[in-house]
């Protein structure tokens, strides 16, 4: 309990730092540290899958994205005169936020006792799926439609990012060209870490059916390895008008939709799995979805096209 209180104080302290830091770079660094501490909180809340996702996605990749953005925005960061809020408005905003926080705290304290839960129905039907990780069972079987639409949302966000390209570089290479010394340190560490990261990513994907892990965490690690390789100059992001890239991105949701519609024929409802083939169908969905999401995440971090296509 004392450990939990200390951890909560640390998380809130990092959040206060993120809000009140002077420079944007300091705030982003505080945000990354906050995300890692939040992953510890998730472990304490008995949610290791969420802890993995928070550490990789919420703190790792989001931190990388925000650090790059804060570096590009550094010339514009100084607040202009007349732009910072007066003290009266700040006090009013603080009062509003205290009110909102108090309302949420009241809800937390007044949560119903005994707590309603869906764990027993999840546990009762998991054996039929051949999965031992209940969160994967929920993501891929009970709430598979959420996961399906989530992959579509990722694609829509990527479309939105790509549509921001200026006309002359439409369909071109995303992000700036990273030049690194081919005999330098960054290249060396990328050559060393990327294979290790790929193995770790595939392991987390495979073990997600029986232990904490799964496709989103694995896709994030694969995307991070791609980003590291591009930063070291080992590979370059392909131009976004390439057909094979677009097929790779769409393959995951397409297979998901196909299995969903086949469920109508085979088992009577959209995304229903016939009982003996459930594990096989889930695996058939998961592999393309992991690759698609990894590519989508890496391209979301790379940003809109900035160099003209060949």
């Amino acid at each position: 309990m004392a450990f939990d209180a200390g951890l909560a104080v640390l998380v809130l302290g990092m959040a206060v730092w993120t809000i009140t830091a002077r420079g944007t770079f300091a705030a982003v660094v505080g945000f990354v540290a906050y995300g890692l501490l939040l992953a510890l909180v998730w472990v304490r809340l008995a949610a290791p899958d969420v802890a993995l996702t928070e550490a990789a996605l919420g703190s790792g990749i989001t931190g990388g994205l925000l650090l790059g953005a804060s570096a590009r925005l550094r010339p514009t960061e100084a607040p202009a005169t007349g732009e910072t809020m007066g003290i009266g408005l700040r006090v009013a905003a603080a009062a509003l936020c205290v009110l909102v926080a108090a309302g949420l705290a009241a809800i937390v304290v007044l949560l119903p006792e005994p707590a309603p839960t869906l764990a027993p129905p999840v546990a009762a039907n998991m054996a039929a799926l051949g999965l031992a990780n209940p969160v994967t069972a929920v993501l891929m079987a009970y709430r598979a439609i959420d996961t399906l639409l989530e992959t579509v949302v990722l694609l829509l966000a990527l479309l939105g990012v790509w549509s921001l390209a200026p006309d002359r570089v439409w369909g071109g290479f995303p992000g700036p060209r990273h030049d690194a010394d081919p005999h330098g340190l960054l290249t060396f560490i990328a050559q060393l870490l990327v294979p290790i990261g790929l193995i770790v990513g595939i392991h987390i994907f495979w073990v997600g059916s029986v232990a904490p892990g799964g496709e989103f965490q694995a896709a994030t690690i694969l995307a991070a390895m791609w980003i590291l390789a591009t930063m070291a100059g080992l590979v370059d992001d392909p131009p976004v008008n390439r057909r094979w890239l677009r097929i790779l991105l769409v393959a995951g949701p397409a297979v998901f939709f196909a299995v969903g519609f086949a469920g109508w024929a085979m088992a009577g409802a959209f995304l229903a799995y016939p009982a003996p083939y459930a594990k096989l169908l889930i695996l058939t969905i998961e592999i393309p979805v992991t690759l698609s999401i990894a590519a989508t995440l890496a391209l979301l971090v790379a940003g809109p096209p900035e160099r003209a296509p060949p």
């Binding site: 944007t24 945000f31 809340l45 969420v50 994205l65 590009r72 809020m85 926080a101 304290v109």
Partner: protein, 103 residues
Amino acid sequence: MNTATLYGLCGAVLVGLGLFGLIVHPQPLRKILAFNLIGGGVFLLFGVVARRGAAAGFGGDPVPQALVITGLVVAFAATALAVALLLRLVQEIGRRPTLRSDG
């Protein structure tokens, strides 16, 4: 007060802090950071509901946990789109976007 309630209160305070940062900061990137804080607080509230639903041999109700994972991924997608919009806008107008009406 057990662990779950403590982290629930932590999540409530995070939402309040994030809302304050969203209102007070003039720079859009700080607003995006604060918005992510609000999201983190909301996910913590989900996690508290999940922890309180521990049953059937699991440490927590897996359905809210799966919802949080989905939410984390979608929150990253939204952040990436917001950052791309901001960078493109700064590239177009040459300075940080403000609410002043002189363009």
